[in-house]
């Protein structure tokens, strides 16, 4: 599918119907997810706070997924010098940063009433997600600092790929560090195994976030394509 979409015109034709469709799907899934969310009973251990899980965990999943998309697009951008791939990478970054910030903040709000702390240093997941947020902001900072687009594309792609390689190492290093300190042992998403009354809304919310990202990503890439066209037009008009 990706080679077929690589042509900008075909991408624009595809995204014209795909983006609204994904958007509508996201809204439906969100509605269904929220209904199931708020008809689910409070948890035995964490009480009503369990409801934060339904917006925290999907955000955390997406923070990783979007970075994988950013990395993949950057790879194609760098290796094939593909402008649409570059546009896709550029479009993904703010979406990833936003959803990662949401994950961090909701996680903190979930942690305070349940574990008693706004933040736990030395937890692999928390640290990894924080580093992930820093990687997104680094990407956007580098992108903003290089004015020449021809130069910005390879540079940001290199950074995205270096970050991608580093991410599992970050996670592993903190896992190892935590084993050294035998930190808190029950920092798990919703407990060891989720009963269906929680699992179903969680998965639906996960899909809602996924389709929502898909819709927004396609729209942002469309915006990038138009921006490029506008820039080309401006150059021609000035010539």
């Amino acid at each position: 599918m990706i080679p077929a979409l690589a042509n900008p015109d075909r991408f624009m034709a595809f995204s014209r119907w795909a983006a609204p469709l994904l958007g509508a799907l996201a809204v439906l899934l969100l509605a269904a997810g929220l209904v199931l969310d708020f008809t689910a009973p409070p948890d035995d251990r964490q009480g009503y706070a369990v409801h934060i899980m339904f917006i925290h965990v999907p955000a955390a999943w997406m923070s990783l997924f979007v970075y994988a998309c950013l990395g993949g697009a950057s790879f194609f951008s760098l290796v094939f010098r593909h402008a649409l791939a570059r546009a896709a990478a550029r479009a993904a970054a703010p979406l990833g940063a936003g959803v990662t910030a949401a994950a961090l903040i909701t996680g903190s709000l979930w942690g305070k009433p349940t574990w008693g702390a706004w933040w736990v240093w030395g937890d692999p997941r928390l640290t990894s997600v924080l580093v992930l947020f820093l990687l997104y902001t680094a990407y956007m900072a580098l992108d903003a600092a290089i004015e020449d687009e021809a130069r910005a594309a390879p540079a940001t792609a290199i950074l995205a790929l270096v970050g991608l390689i580093n991410l599992p190492i970050v996670h592993y290093s903190v896992v190892w560090w935590r084993s050294l300190h035998q930190g808190p042992s029950v920092l798990r998403a919703g407990g060891p195994s989720l009963p269906p009354v929680y699992l179903t809304p969680l998965l639906i919310m996960g899909l809602a976030y996924l389709t929502g990202f898909g819709a927004l990503w396609l729209v942002r890439i469309r915006g990038e394509v138009w921006r490029r066209r506008a820039a080309v037009m401006a150059m021609r008009a000035a010539a």
């Binding site: 640290t127 580093v131 820093l134 990687l135 902001t137 680094a138 900072a141 580098l142 600092a145 290089i146 004015e147 021809a150 130069r151 390879p154 540079a155 290199i158 950074l159 790929l161 270096v162 970050g163 390689i165 580093n166 190492i169 970050v170 592993y172 290093s173 903190v174 190892w176 560090w177 050294l180």
Partner: protein
């Protein structure tokens, strides 16, 4: 091989010629050290407890200091163009630059670190592990920092941009080094974290020249 040693010698000469080599970074290190008791409130036990971790952290930060110059000078005066067009691969030049950065900035910091810890009242018995972690980690900081320096070439806000790019990448070596130092002090297994640190540093040294060269070529295009 002679090409490499030529480049290496040049980098060393440049590092010391442009303002005292390691002195700036060491100066920063010592300045931060003198600020710590003021920031913490001077209780000796707290200071001593924090000392090794603090020294390690500031070592990582001080490694950022001279990074901007790593490629900047050659980029501005056209030498980088010549190196890129020359017979030796740009990757080799990048490797030499990062190696020189290690030798002239981060390695001296590693040697100063134990004194800093002692000055803050930390356990002097930690000096072997601090030096070992500093030298090994310093290698990682120099090579990773080189990626940041190369990527920031030609853009404004060079220094802070390099820091923003590079600090997330510093996370694993910082964690492994801190773990090694702490394990050594607590009598636990310090060899494993030190080995991880060494593995990471060697991988960084092996792979980052490719990223640095790609970034440098991009900046020259």
């Amino acid at each position: 091989m002679s090409g490499f040693s030529l480049i290496l010698r040049r980098e060393f000469a440049l590092a010391f010629a442009g303002g005292g080599g390691p002195l700036v970074a060491i100066g920063f290190f010592l300045a931060m050290t003198s600020l710590l008791p003021l920031a913490l409130g001077g209780s000796p036990e707290r200071l001593a407890g924090v000392a090794p971790g603090f020294a390690w952290l500031v070592l990582a930060l001080a490694a950022l200091i001279s990074l901007e110059r790593m490629f900047e000078r050659d980029y501005e005066d056209g030498s980088l163009d010549l190196i890129a067009l020359g017979p030796a691969p740009l990757e080799m030049a990048a490797f030499a630059k990062a190696l020189a950065q290690w030798a002239t900035t981060t390695a001296p910091l590693a040697l100063v670190a134990p004194f800093v810890v002692a000055a803050l009242g930390g356990k002097t018995a930690l000096w072997p592990i601090i030096t070992a972690a500093g030298l090994t980690g310093g290698l990682a900081f120099a090579f990773l920092g080189g990626i940041g320096a190369a990527l920031s070439l030609g853009s404004r806000r060079g220094g802070i941009l390099i820091a923003v790019i590079v600090l997330p990448l510093f996370t694993p070596p910082v964690i492994f080094g801190a773990g090694a130092i702490e394990a050594f002090g607590a009598g636990l297994d310090w060899k494993t974290p030190l080995l991880f640190l060494a593995a990471y540093a060697l991988a960084a040294a092996a792979l980052s020249p490719f990223a640095m060269a790609a970034a440098a070529r991009n900046a020259l295009s």
